[in-house]
Symmetry: C3
Subunit: 438 residues, 3 copies
């Protein structure tokens, strides 16, 4: 009685797990139960790998910023995972994958909509994985876009405003523009290619970050009398942990984007992803060593991420050599991009714009240059980049600007100087240690 009340009132579907226990044998053509199970298992492994990227982002971002704002950053990054998963269940998934739609915007309804019986199971996705696997893998992706914004606005954004921005960004903006390609929309029809999201995830997050940073302005004391004053991160072990966990997660981010455990494609993706990251480290090391006259750890951490973002759009469609070249170029780009943003006084504490936006653009265009598939055309890739940039930037700017008017988006000067941890959360991240607030 009580149960039926719950289930009829709420929009999310009822699942009878018993249908799982006695599946029919109607697998897709050529798909055995063993193959279906192996495919689905890989997609779930990829899911937990993408999940761990959220810890990677939290670590990288807090490591590269000051100790007085660490609790705040950890709070944001934990909350975003929850917001991302829940809003994706509520509406994101059905906005991003609306089924038949006009190619620009569609909505398959509130909550999850498990196809009945075998259709959600062995009959789903050509027998590669189940409906639930599809949802949870995509849901883990979704929150990463919002997390990218988090890094760029760190150390000065107001917590409540950021959480509201993130919720709307991940629930509505990210999935709608995502549907243009991955949902089978107009850019997909045009031949645009973005394998795992150089643009759809990293570019979208990066454009959102740029919009927010322009509205927020730089941190106090970053640009003084026309000079750039570096603000050092408080823990390089934490930042390095973050980079390695992000790379680890990328095996699932790119490897899972094969959307099956296809041995040839997944193993190729592991190779291209790893070698692009390695190449990004190498070229960012050489570049920054030459330009800055010092081997710079934060640069090679970002160099590896630059290579990873760069290879993401074409990881399954370039050669091994192509992957290395994409990574080498990304590692050079990221060094100059970090310097460029500082020169134009756009303050990005962790280099998120350089890594995700700039290298996301590079990676998307690189498909047009290095792809072994002649259907991938540079001009179409450029159309995609511009379309995503224009719409995401405008939407994020409008949203954050509105929040600025309604409730403010930046903490007070006093709060910023004394640290967000004590003011917003009432507790420091490190207790017992002697810490200077810089």
């Amino acid at each position: 009685m009580k149960k039926s009340l719950f289930f009829s009132v709420l929009a999310l579907p009822i699942l009878s797990v018993f249908t799982f226990i006695t599946p029919t044998t109607a697998y897709a053509a050529g798909v055995s139960q063993g193959l279906f199970t192996a495919n689905n298992t890989w997609m779930l492994v990829a899911t937990f790998l993408v999940f761990i990227m959220h810890l990677g982002f939290a670590s990288l971002e807090s490591g590269l910023t000051r100790a007085k704002n660490t609790t705040n950053i950890l709070f944001k990054n934990t909350a975003i995972v929850a917001i991302g998963l829940l809003t994706y269940a509520l509406c994101g998934f059905n906005l991003m994958y609306p089924g038949d739609f006009n190619g620009w915007i569609g909505f398959a309804g509130v909550g999850l909509s498990l196809p009945a019986g075998d259709a959600g199971l062995i009959g789903y996705a050509d027998g590669a994985y189940t409906y639930y696997t599809d949802f949870i893998f995509q849901a883990m992706f979704a929150a990463t876009a919002a997390t990218i914004v988090s890094g760029a606005v760190a150390e000065r954004v107001k917590l409540s405003s950021f959480l509201i921005f993130s919720a709307i960004f991940v629930a509505i903006i990210y999935p709608i523009v995502g549907s243009w390609k991955w949902g089978g929309g107009w850019l997909d029809a045009m031949g645009f290619y973005d394998f795992a999201g150089s643009t759809l995830v990293h570019g979208v997050g990066g454009w959102g970050a740029l919009a927010c940073v322009l509205i927020l302005g730089p941190r106090l004391g970053k640009y003084v009398n026309g000079q750039v004053r570096p603000i050092l991160g408080h823990s390089m072990p934490l930042a390095t942990l973050g980079m390695f966990l992000l790379w680890l997660g990328w095996f699932g981010f790119n490897g899972g984007s094969v959307l099956s455990a296809d041995p040839g494609l997944v193993s190729l993706v592991f190779v291209t992803t790893s070698l692009a990251a390695a190449a990004g480290i190498l070229s960012s090391m050489v570049t920054s060593w030459m330009v800055q006259k010092k081997p710079d750890l934060s640069m090679i951490l970002n160099g590896s991420l630059a290579g990873l973002v760069g290879i993401t759009a074409g990881a399954d469609t370039v050669t091994v050599m192509g992957a290395i070249l994409i990574g080498l170029v990304a590692g050079v780009i990221v060094v100059f991009s970090v310097m460029f943003f500082d020169r134009v006084k756009i303050d990005d504490p962790v280099g998120a714009l350089s890594v995700h936006l700039v290298c996301g653009i590079w990676g998307t265009l690189a498909v047009g240059i290095f792809s072994t598939n002649p259907d991938h055309k540079l001009w179409v890739q450029l159309v995609g980049v511009v379309a995503y940039g224009a719409v995401t930037f405008a939407a994020a700017f409008g949203l954050f600007f509105a929040l600025k008017g309604i409730m403010g988006v930046r903490v007070t000067e006093q709060e910023e100087m004394e640290g967000l941890d004590m003011h917003e959360h009432g507790v420091a991240a490190y207790n017992g240690f002697q810490i200077n607030n810089q």
Copy 2:
């Protein structure tokens, strides 16, 4: 000669690995070699995920306590893994899964007992995994129960006493009560349901923790003149790392409890587990923000774990909406529970009682409310909760009380004030940093 001496003297069985290299083709009905391999691979992935929970516990516990006791906590948590695995091989596994037995207690013998030939391989567990997979997956579970106790008794327990307590707890108490349900004992026969251990693992650990904490008493300076003096954790990054790693591990803890790679069930479990954790974060954030007027990071970390513990008993048998509701309630419960234990002066440095015991009870009862399986009854779930509580608490209390009489269980006041690291281990956890011992 020397070899035969070894093998005849020792109780653990001899394995001829060569039987593995030429398996017969007698797979269980409907199980191909591909399916068997996919299933077994998933169970081993789940195994290493549960393993990483030990690092999660170590990180969470040390992050939420003071720097002067960190070496001690890390030592405990490292030693427990070893003790858990070795005692489980020695006797735990055969106490928990004794085969045919009276339903209350049984023992299949000292050491492992690999069924000969195919019976330990393709003939084991309906062709889902091998005997060795079964053992190592269950062994990884076992030590988690003892680790839960570790968090509650932190910063004042005597190392040697704790190690002895843990060894007996994990070698004897945990597997015997575990056999009542997972070994096919009397509670299983009664229809009690606990999918992955809201009660069998988290409740058991929580009852053990409660017994020890009552005997130990609170930390010095926690309750002074009837007032609660908060003792802050020394590193929120470490605590956050711990939460994320625990969540990561839970994909194996719950996902592996399907006991095969069944695509429908494992993917459902991934969804319910993730959304319950997300819901726990959301509701604990809202609740603690309203009650404490501050967004509290440690509360949302515990909120996520509360959701995870809550969903554990029914992760495969509730709807997506049910999972979200279970998580939402758990996140509210944990906030008030933490406040309650402080009000009654039960000092639990990391909130282990609230997360594992209280939300473990909630999760077990929630099966009776939200399960889609009409065989799951609330009163039976309550019987299980009471039975586990009574016996585990009594056994743990008796054991720890005996240890108190025999060798003492608490460090001296001086040792507690100066820190367990210098006194018990002779080395600080952080060297070179300026640290106040609070």
Copy 3:
């Protein structure tokens, strides 16, 4: 046009990914698509597990050394991954697996050499995994050998010299000696057995470390007036994180060395690996507690790694009891070995020689004692140990000695005292914290 230029100029092969999309059905005998996919998926899981060992090494090594050198260590360990992967693609893989060769040295050519069509896919490795999987799994291994050296030379080695040494060590020395066994060379023909690299990886890394340490000499202030002055690690949480991540990675290191997802063998390897690590913790705890009169965290961390290194050579060919004994002995050895190296004034900041070299030798010889396969002979194991030791040590010594003459291998006294971070990198690892440079 532009593309064809790239591809004809460069040595790395062109891959047409489209061959993957329509595989033929010519699987190896008895291998279904499901089995092939499950096998390959496991090997890729093992690959990302080995990857995460690099984070484990970085964490362990930086945790066990001083804060003033942390950026330097993190930089080295990040750069080594890149160098290892890229040089392995360039020449390492084809030196280690040259195909038919004289048993001592062979080279299959610059760059990767993907067999055409199905031969690189379902026709590769008896249908267990693809060519790309083979490469990336082996490439992840390669860099670990160089990383072992990194720990021993920490806090005094010159960055540029170390990077050049590592590149040559991993690109040439490691794969050539590796080919003697894993490439099917003369030691393989002789019956030498090293399942996952107690000697081929850990021994090789350890001999390289010994050579470098002898040339470098001890850190300033370590041995003063004939006395050993302990230099404490700056962060035990970081060191503990490192140990757990290494253990986690070992599930892939050993589990992947089965070279398929064979359920019997992989699950056996999980059991032997875990129990050896647990036994190493137990025996090192008891030994160090008795000898040093204190429970020493860094000793049990090294004890677990000692057990892991020890079991690596025979993880698939010993009994459960054998694995426990190997781990118990390794845990005792490592304690006395650490004390021994200090007595003879060989300064190894993280215990890398004791863990990787000494226990690597022990593990290799242990195959001759505990293997259930009568073809494994102690004297052959000894021949292998001696051959690897002589050649690796000589080559590494020659190389590092040459570098010493050419460009120097050690930082200046001032740099060592003030810390490598400020001198080599111009930035501290921790900013905002009050730190003594000891």
